[in-house]
């Protein structure tokens, strides 16, 4: 997923005589210039609004559900005992309808479902970046044995089929950590917590190698750049060279990667939940709601469509925003 980002190295050779433009004002770093470019990008701004909306939904979920007056209880009386479906798609009590048979409110699940999507997306991609960038930096800058080892680990992890491993690891983790006293008793919510953590770990474990590979390549080319040589010739300690000279120059690829990872992770969460190895209630997630509702897409469409549209919109906004970011950071693709 991060293949396209390799060209970002070029952004360092920035505005100069070769690319005359309006005289830049005092003190603007490439990042600031990129941000300014981004600010003028209408699509990016629109995307930001969409993303912001869902972030707000996630944060304000408790407020929203109390305004809507819905809860997470069963409402058997809301559905027809014969068909198992509610007679309404949406009404004042249940704006997004209720689940078949149990009558659980779908607005409640939608509002709270925004949380795991965003948390998984952000936490997993942040962790992925931290691990991937660290390993990539180490491998690229130190070279030698470290590079060999890290590259091997990268090869190794990338050779494992991700989805199959994810499918396999969940039941193992549940067995191992689900009932530590081997009584078979799983505390309320413990399973969903385990699933949550496992999901994030699996995503990070199988994605950081891609990031590390990319960053390593970047570092290898940056390392030979003259300003790094200059820093070394000044007698700068290695740590400082890495932190002060290399790292800031990786901001571009890192941000671009982040904007690719977040939507990818959100989509993956939904997919895993569909396969039954993602999140489980009481952690509501859109992926889970979609997978439950998809069978009823013709008889009770609102169940599936609301979370589907939400996920799609969020992913679309995030990836369009990601494109805008990578454009903004890449001087060659000015729009």
């Amino acid at each position: 997923m991060s293949l396209g980002a390799g060209t970002e190295a070029t952004m360092v050779a920035d505005a100069d005589e070769r690319a005359p433009g309006p005289a830049p004002r005092e003190g603007k770093s490439p990042t600031q210039i990129a941000l300014e470019r981004l600010r003028k990008d209408k699509v990016a701004i629109a995307c930001l609004f969409v993303i912001g909306f869902f972030v707000l939904v996630a944060i304000l979920a408790p407020v929203l559900v109390s305004i809507a007056g819905v809860d997470d209880q069963l409402h058997l009386d809301q559905v027809n005992p014969l068909t198992g479906l509610a007679s309404f798609q949406s009404n004042a009590d249940h704006p997004f309808g209720v689940k078949a048979r149990t009558g659980e409110d779908l607005f409640y699940q939608w509002a709270y479902g925004a949380r795991p999507s965003l948390v998984v997306g952000i936490a997993a991609s942040a962790l992925t970046m931290v691990v991937g960038v660290t390993m990539g930096l180490l491998a690229g800058f130190l070279g030698g044995v470290v590079d060999t080892v890290v590259s091997w680990i990268v090869d190794f992890l990338l050779s494992l089929p991700f989805l199959l491993m994810a499918i396999g690891i969940v039941p193992i983790a549940l067995q191992r950590f689900g009932n530590p006293d081997s009584s078979g008793f799983i505390e309320e919510g413990r399973e969903s917590t385990i699933r949550f953590i496992v999901l994030i770990c699996v995503l990070v474990l199988f994605t950081w190698p891609t990031v590390a590979r990319l960053i390593r390549g970047e570092v290898l080319s940056l390392r030979e750049r003259e300003f790094v040589q200059a820093a070394r010739s000044l007698g700068m300690p290695t740590k400082r060279v890495v932190m002060r000279e290399l790292l800031p120059n990786l901001t571009g690829p890192m941000i671009v990667n982040l904007t690719i990872l977040i939507p990818a992770f959100i989509a993956t969460e939904a997919g895993l939940s569909f396969l039954g190895v993602g999140l489980k209630d009481p952690t509501y997630s859109w992926g889970q709601t979609i997978s439950q509702g998809v069978t009823f897409f013709d008889s009770y469409p609102i169940w599936m469509w609301i979370p589907t549209i939400s996920v799609s919109l969020l992913v679309l906004a995030l990836s369009l925003f990601g494109d805008a970011v990578s454009d903004a950071f890449n001087p060659q693709t000015r729009r």
Binding site: G184, E187, D298
Partner: protein, 590 residues
Amino acid sequence: MRWTTVVALATAGTLSLAACGGSGSSGTNSNNDAGASNTALGDAYEKVPASAGQRPDVKGPAPEIAGAKKGGTLTFNSDVTPESTDPSTQYYQDTAAIMKLTTRTLTAYRMEGGKSVLVPDMATDLGQKSKDGLQWKFTLKPNLKYDDGTPIKASDVAYSIKRSFATEELPGGPTFQIDYFKDGDKYKGPWKSGDTYSGVEADDAKGVITINLARKFETLSYFASFTMFGAIPKAKDTKTNYQLKWAATGPYKVQSYTKGSSLTLVKNTNWDAASDPARHQYPDTIQFNFGKDAATTAKAIMADNGIDQTSLTYDGVNAAVLQQALGAKRKQVASGPSNCVNWNGSTMDVNKIPLEVRKAVAAAWPIDQIHQAAGETPFDYSPGGTIGAPQVPGFTKFNLPEFPGKGQGDPAKAKAMLQAAGKLNFELSYYYSNDDEAAKNVNKVKVAQLTKAGFKVKAIGVSKTERRKKVRDPKAPVNLGQGVNTGWCYDWPQGDSIYPPLFNSTLPNNSGAGNIRDKALDKEMADIANLPVAEQGAKWTALDKKILQKYVPLVPNAYSKGSMIFGSKVHNVVIDPNQGIGDFPSIWVG
């Protein structure tokens, strides 16, 4: 005896067990094409199936079905993958139904106007019993052949039976032979113990199979309909791989079988229709596809386009098409009683819960809510207030006021009862699967209702696998929902297949229902079981009533149903009430 399982949840597809014998009876039962009303709903919803019995004098061939056409391809799609198709180990509804197409047995059920009757199949009658009841003789009909044209010998049938004792090599099959047959506990099958076994002997010249018993087995004729009473040519036995390619004796033979994926059956030209009273040979090809998503299969069949017109599924009526099944597409549903009765986790340990409290639990039990929360629909059950299934011959359906078998329960009344007994806040504890959506919902319903009725409820959430172990754990520190807690599916339609496995005092703790330890009851059950089959039914009915009233070990919930949906060009889908699944050999397309 054993087992049972959950009634198919609409979401999960059927996987219930127990194919078995019996001369049942069946009453209302379902559809034929062309507007024949099915009994899923409405007034028929609560109607009880009638009984049918054994018909030892029936000869082949099976009577033609009016309007039936030959030819075409019939396609079955199912979510469930058959575990094993080895004739010696088959114990599930779906495999039993499938193998009825390929494998003839000594006796077999056949549908007679909606009733399921036990008739002789390969044998000339339903078995000749010696005076002391300890020796049974079955005589093979002449000129029976395998699909390759070689004749079927009595020793082949004997070999097939002996093979079923090899539970180590071929695990998972029924074990009545081990309990009842002479030296059944010592013989370990032909591979470990050799070919000679005093329990089963064959005379190829006369075509007679002799079975020697250790104790009386009045319902052996029913048991003889299991596929282990078929024929296996010893020379072609590939042991664990026999399940992949087995010799056919029925109207169809295996053309190709990809385990877990698909099975294609074609006509067996060496099958003799004249000698077979229980099977037809209508479609040219019968195709089974396994592991197909239940919801999409259901939608496809209801959409009724192309190949789906000649397709059907035994996964039940999926929730996704429930509305259609109840409305416009009602003609494409067959639904009828099955061999199971449900009590949805209501087994009460009679040693741990006082009688008055058990009665209060029964009064409070939220039957309808549990059905709804579990996702059970009228295609899955009809109300039922007895432990036995009403299609058992001689059984008379009854409804005790304490056990209405339906309704929302009365927490207020239960609370009053508790108060009267001075047991307010009595603690009820049980395990539930907290990794199963339906089980969690059911639990929510139970907790709410029982708390309302003045109980203290301790619901312990464990994983599905863990729960499976816990409910049978003799030392489990809970008092509700242990043992055979979901319900019971009989192996053949007679009380000896129902009551002793549930209430015998010799059963280990938590492996029956309610842990009743009463020698008198044991004796009563044994006495009834030793009566001739025809006399048993009425006695079991009385015993059923007595157990419910005297011990209150469980709250009967429902008679479960088998349901199938099928395309518009599939005809004569009839649910066999003794199997809970359609009678495949009588289905035709066109």
